[in-house]
């Protein structure tokens, strides 16, 4: 385990940032301030942050419709993201993408994606670029238990093995593909399926930041060394419904509250940090306070930011036409 004080500070900060970003979006949406479809990832922070803490700036990720956490964890700017959620011209996609399409190619973020499983071949493409140009960068595809049954995913697992691509498959299994349990929808054994493609596979407790960081770090080192694709199964839990407005009645009453009380990933990391003595409770409190005011400032900025001009509708369809 190579967790030092700085890394833990950074990791805790990023996890709290994702959590508070999602909580804020939830409140803003309830007040009717935000347009469009929104899918929140609160509860799943140890996965995106634990993996992205192992990545270089020039590594690539592809994400899902539940992508805020991945994108923030890879380093996308908070203010530009908030502006985008508010559909503002100053947003990361200039108000043309929204919550489901956050992307920042300069940071290696090939986008959240509104199509389940679509990010998987795209990440393989980014991995092919690294391989073809002889770079040491790798790609991570974040995908959910729903996407694990998509043809695009299964085809790409085979292709990545055949072409020996530097690609980490990060299956975030939050137990629900929309409103259907993954235990119902996934036939067979999750890890054995990956192993059937010849891809070394491992499960990790996705609530435990340290475990995720370590398991992902090992796999990413192997991938970077030319070992080909790896597969990580992360058991995670989402606190909100599939989409904002989903009452999530398919979950038994009290399940979320029980989870928050017993298995919350930020709570677990917080306990670890305090026990290790690397940071004091007051340090963590300070981080939390700073993040909250950053998110508040981002909301203020987004509220005041300009909307797109009507003429923007015609721009950036093509490079030339």
């Amino acid at each position: 385990m190579q967790l030092n004080r700085e890394d833990l500070h950074d990791a805790y900060r990023r996890m709290v940032l994702v959590r508070e970003f999602e909580n804020q979006i939830h409140r803003l949406n309830e007040k009717g301030e935000l347009p469009g479809f929104i899918h929140l990832s609160a509860g799943q922070e140890a996965s995106c942050v634990g993996i992205c803490m192992n990545l270089q700036e020039d590594d690539y990720i592809t994400s899902t419709h539940r992508g805020h956490g991945h994108v923030l964890a890879k380093g996308c700017d908070l203010v530009e993201m908030m502006d985008e959620v508010f559909a503002k011209r100053t947003g990361i996609c200039h108000g043309k993408g929204g919550s489901m399409h956050m992307a920042d190619l300069e940071k290696g973020i090939l986008g959240a994606n509104g199509i389940v499983g679509a990010g998987v071949p795209l990440a393989a493409g980014a991995a092919l670029t690294s391989k073809t140009l002889g770079k040491d960068s790798i790609s991570v595809v974040f995908f959910g238990d729903g996407a694990y049954n998509e043809g695009a995913t299964l085809e790409t697992m085979n292709l990545a093995k055949v072409l020996n691509l530097p690609l980490l498959f990060a299956l975030e299994d939050n137990g629900w593909g929309e409103a259907t349990p993954s235990s119902y929808a996934i036939g067979g054994d999750i890890l054995k399926r990956a192993e059937g493609f010849g891809i070394p596979a491992q499960a990790v407790d996705g609530h435990d930041y340290c475990a995720v960081y370590e398991a992902a770090g090992d796999m990413i080192s192997q991938i970077r060394a030319g070992g080909g694709p790896r597969f990580l199964h992360l058991d995670v839990y989402r606190y909100f419904g599939h989409f904002e407005g989903d009452a999530a009645t398919y979950r038994p009453k009290g399940e979320v509250e029980k989870h928050q009380k017993e298995r919350d990933c930020i709570m677990i990391l917080r306990a670890y940090i305090i026990e290790s003595g690397l940071l004091a409770e007051s340090d963590l409190h300070k981080i939390h306070k700073e993040v909250l005011s950053e998110v508040e400032a981002a909301v203020d900025h987004a509220r005041k930011a300009p909307s797109p001009e009507a003429s923007d509708i015609l721009t950036n369809v093509y490079a030339t036409y």
């Binding site: 399409h101 493409g125 980014a126 670029t129 085979n158 072409l163 950036n316 369809v317 036409y321």
Partner: protein, 320 residues
């Protein structure tokens, strides 16, 4: 590929034999179009894939977004059904959806066209389907000269280009310069220039219409034959300018008629050059059916020079 290391080929059997014990580069694509490239550029740049269109087309899209300039071969355009999401929702939309921050220098080459008795799943011309999608460019060359110039243009373009090759034309012979040259998209070419009627077509249909033009000339009917070259962008200006002169329009297209390419051109001309029209616009297309197997039915399906002549006669007779 010699000019730019970032240009790669990816597809099924584009070398053929990769990893086996027999001849490597055995096929060069199912029609031999890329034969020889594997020997020159190797397996790192001429990449044979498993038969899994969704994954390798998607891989090409992801590679294009991150710095390569992939040329993917989709063996038949009929296989668009196996990979459509990556074209429809990913390649076509990245630049717009991400606020102009992504380039998508991707070419997808694919066969189209009926005439080989390849039946309903290996004979279609699906250019209209892709033309409907904003963000894609759609190209269909009509000769070896056009094919080279348009393909080089496609490879150097920073948008996703869907490149249709009619399988009946691979044995066509024509003059092609040795040096590099490009033909811009959206600039139609006049194959013949005449004042009586305007005929628009794409790809193999241009040659078929030209046979009709030669016959018509014997009867003193002079046609302007326009090779549109690309359906997106489309050179509406050249079509309308010609119709302003001739007053009559025949569109020849191998795609299906409903919501088809011919219907699109007809609608554009009707709305932009209505005052110039001296006769209703005629469309020469297949019937709205799947493509049949039996040669006798397939010939019934396809446009031919006789049908083009009949259509021209109809617009010439109108109002006289």
């Amino acid at each position: 590929m010699r000019r730019d290391d970032r240009v790669i080929l990816i597809g099924e059997d584009i070398a053929g034999g990769t990893g086996g014990k027999g001849e490597e580069d055995a096929w060069g694509g199912v029609m031999g179009v890329t034969k020889g490239l594997y020997k020159e550029f190797g397996a790192g740049r001429v990449i044979d894939t498993p038969i899994s269109e969704m994954s390798y087309i998607g891989t090409a899209v992801g590679a294009a977004a991150t710095g390569l300039r992939p040329i993917a071969e989709l063996m038949f355009c009929d296989f668009l059904g196996c990979c459509f999401d990556q074209i429809l929702n990913q390649a076509a939309k990245f630049r717009y959806m991400f606020g102009g921050k992504v380039s998508m220098p991707l070419v997808i080459r694919m066969q189209c066209g009926a005439g080989f008795s390849a039946a309903a799943q290996h004979s279609q011309s699906l250019h209209a389907l892709l033309t409907h999608i904003p963000g894609l460019k759609v190209v269909m060359p009509s000769s070896p000269y056009e094919a080279k110039g348009l393909l080089i243009e496609a490879i150097r373009d920073n948008d996703p280009v869907m490149f249709f090759e009619n399988k009946l034309m691979y044995d066509d012979v024509g003059e092609v310069p040795d040096e590099d040259y490009t033909i811009p998209f959206g600039e139609a070419a006049l194959r013949t220039d005449g004042e009586d009627v305007t005929i628009c077509a794409l790809g193999r249909m241009v040659n078929l219409a030209e046979q009709a033009v030669v016959q018509l000339r014997k009867r003193n009917i002079e046609a302007t034959l326009i090779d549109l070259r690309s359906t997106s962008p489309l050179d509406v200006e050249t079509i309308c300018e010609s119709v302003e002169e001739t007053g009559r329009l025949v569109i020849v297209d191998e795609g299906s008629p409903r919501c088809g390419f011919a219907a699109d051109v007809a609608a554009l001309v009707a709305s932009k050059a209505f005052g110039a029209l001296q006769a209703p616009i005629e469309m020469v297309t297949p019937p709205h059916t799947p493509i049949p197997f039996a040669p006798v039915l397939e010939q019934e399906y396809l446009p031919n020079p006789e049908r083009v002549i009949m259509a021209v006669d109809k617009v010439m007779a109108y109002g006289r």
